[in-house]
């Protein structure tokens, strides 16, 4: 749950990019760093990588000030996708306010996607998150590659799922911002209920989203 610091007038929100290995989580973060223009934008902190594979996590901090003078910080994390790093994945996922699940659209990745999604559901339970109410966006990445599932196939498979579905090509920047905005829209109602963003801080949902993306 978001950290609500009355003394320093600060709200810290944690958002996590989850998904199978090599699905493009870090690339999403790098594109967001390029595209977004909030008041405050930090550098991407990359922690412990080996052959371009994330070992611990990547972190992109974003922030803005509300009309009420509070600082809202958003910390965007990625998890390491490889199966072996499950303990790290669990630690990164703890206290998350929202998750973007980055799936790989290629035909060959179906099993990896579903195993990673199942792992997300299990780990959410283990770290005390209610998976049924956790704000979640599902992104199908790598739309620029050949040998991918068609949008219709994916829509059909996910037709019973309640989460927004976004098609993306993080490498060229498509769908990255859309996924992020969809997540902000899913997170906002929870935050508003918890921190009274609208009433106390003068931020309705469009204002909140605009402040983060910098439009």
């Amino acid at each position: 749950m978001a950290e609500f610091d009355e003394t320093n007038r600060k709200i810290t929100i944690k958002l996590v990019y989850y998904g199978p290995a090599m699905s493009g989580k870090t690339t999403n973060l790098m594109r967001l760093h390029d595209i977004l223009a909030p008041d405050l934008k930090g550098e991407i902190m990359t922690l412990e990588t080996q052959n371009d594979r994330t070992l611990f996590f990547d972190l992109l901090p974003l922030g803005f000030h509300t009309p009420s003078g509070w600082l809202v910080k958003l910390k965007l994390y990625t998890v390491p996708g490889q199966v072996v790093h499950d303990a790290t994945r669990k630690a990164v996922l703890s206290r998350a306010d929202g998750v973007v699940f980055v799936a790989d659209s290629q035909h060959s990745q179906g099993i990896n996607n579903s195993e990673a999604f199942q792992n997300l559901e299990e780990n959410a339970g283990r770290v005390g998150l209610d998976f049924d109410t956790l704000p979640l966006v599902v992104q199908f990445n790598k739309r620029d590659l050949p040998n991918i599932l068609t949008e219709d196939e994916i829509r059909e498979r996910w037709s019973a799922a309640p989460w927004p579905l976004v098609f993306a090509s993080a490498l060229v920047g498509e769908g990255v911002k859309e996924s992020f905005v969809k997540l902000l829209e899913a997170v906002y109602p929870v935050l508003d209920k918890y921190c009274a963003l609208g009433v106390t801080h003068g931020m309705d949902m469009p204002a909140f989203v605009n402040a983060v993306v910098g439009d």
Binding site: G42, M45, F56, Y77, K90
Partner: protein, 409 residues
């Protein structure tokens, strides 16, 4: 965990600079700015450089970390370019410090989580080890229970098989007895009619003339009757003797379960067994007895009868065409030796070593329990003796029983 801070919790200025040699950093920054400096927290607490504040008019520049101002750099230096460079340098150090802290704390969290998972697994293993120890402790007991159960089942099976063979014997004996009883009954009927005729003749003798008597004698064919009457009685006596003998043999058999020892001549037992089994042998095998002089033996007579019958019936069953069963008895080295040899099909070498095993049988299901030879051997061993087998496929099988004359067991 909590007091040490999580990897994603906020870090203070002192934490972030804790890995850096303060003196060297201050010296480098002083050289860069060309003036002394001090770094203070947002609350005004000095962390690096001069303890006392500079005179009014000194520069005061914000140092940011994680989107927020975390400290102020104070110095009399005024060169904006140098001030920017000093702040950038400090911010890079803070970022590097944060990176180290987060990685280190994440490492601790992950190790801790892995350790907890390991301890959980260890606890589960210990639990299962305890279960196995308990199981092992009771294993001996349970094996003995099982052995008892199997033993009881084995006995029941053998009892059932014995009942079946007793039934077969009874059928054979009934047939055997039926024949003499049949002709004895018929003879007695005929004898009654003869007596009537003789009675009539007796009446005539008192009232009739010799000529009339002569003619009546002829009419009644009394010459034949006198002759036949004698033959008929003789036959009936022989038949009754046969029944008596069969009944005597059966009696010898009926005390199979008597655990009483008797002193017997085993040759008598063998003869009696041969008589009992005769019906089942008659079409299959010719019995040749070659019984030598034997001393009296104190033994479980009924049980040995059972052994001889088992071997005899096995021998008969081994015949594919009518053959011979040769029974020899002899005394040698204070041992009674009983050989039962047949000219049957023989037992293949591969299964010869298994024929005494419990439940091993070559008969079809329902034809035998595979206990006959097992029990036979047990009986012989109980008498302090042993049983041996020799067999050649197509030639025949010989079972040899050795019984000590004075068993010590």
């Amino acid at each position: 965990m909590e007091q040490q801070g999580r990897y994603d919790s906020e870090l203070g200025l002192r934490d972030l600079l804790s890995g850096i040699a303060a003196g060297k950093l201050e010296a480098a920054l002083t050289a860069l700015l060309g003036q002394p400096l001090r770094l203070v927290t947002t609350q005004g607490e000095p962390v690096l450089g001069a303890a006392a504040a500079f005179a009014a008019g000194a520069s005061r520049v914000a140092v940011s970390h994680d989107l927020e101002i975390i400290a102020f750099l104070e110095t009399p230096a005024e060169d904006a370019v140098r001030l920017d460079a000093a702040v950038s340098l400090l911010e890079l150090f803070l970022q590097a410090g944060a990176r180290y802290y987060m990685a280190a704390r994440m490492h601790v969290e992950v190790v801790h989580a892995d350790f907890e998972a390991l301890q959980h697994k260890h606890a589960l293993l210990q639990e299962s080890e305890a279960r196995y120890k308990l199981l092992a402790a009771h294993l001996e007991e349970r094996v003995q229970e099982q052995v008892k159960t199997i033993d009881a089942a084995q006995r029941q099976l053998y009892q059932a098989e014995k009942m079946a063979s007793v039934g077969q014997l009874a059928a054979g004996v009934a047939h055997e007895i039926n024949n003499p009883i049949g002709f004895i009954r018929s003879n007695l009927g005929t004898a009654q009619s003869y007596v009537q005729k003789l009675g009539k003749m007796a009446g005539m003798i008192k009232s009739q003339t010799p000529a009339q008597l002569e003619s009546a004698w002829q009419d009644a064919d009394l010459d034949f009757i006198l002759e036949d009457f004698a033959a008929l009685l003789e036959e009936s006596v022989a038949g009754a003797d046969r029944v008596t003998r069969i009944v005597a043999d059966l009696k010898g058999f009926s005390n199979v379960d008597q655990a009483e020892e008797k002193v017997v001549n085993l040759n008598d037992n063998i003869r009696s067994v041969c008589n009992v089994a005769a019906t089942q042998l008659q079409d299959r095998a010719e019995l040749l007895l070659e019984l030598g002089e034997l001393p009296l033996l104190r033994c479980m007579s009924g049980q040995l009868n059972q052994v001889f019958l088992n071997l005899l019936l096995n021998a008969a069953q081994a015949m594919t065409t009518p053959g011979q069963i040769h029974i020899q008895t002899a005394l040698a080295n204070a041992q009674i030796r009983i050989c039962i040899a047949d000219t049957g099909k023989g037992i293949p070498a591969a299964i010869l070593s298994r024929i005494f095993d419990p439940f091993y049988t070559t008969h079809d299901v329902g034809q035998g329990t595979g206990l006959g030879l097992t029990v036979s051997r047990d009986v012989v061993v109980a008498h302090g003796g042993r049983i041996e087998v020799e067999s050649r496929v197509g030639v025949g099988t010989t079972f040899t029983i050795y019984l000590p004359v004075n068993p010590t067991a």
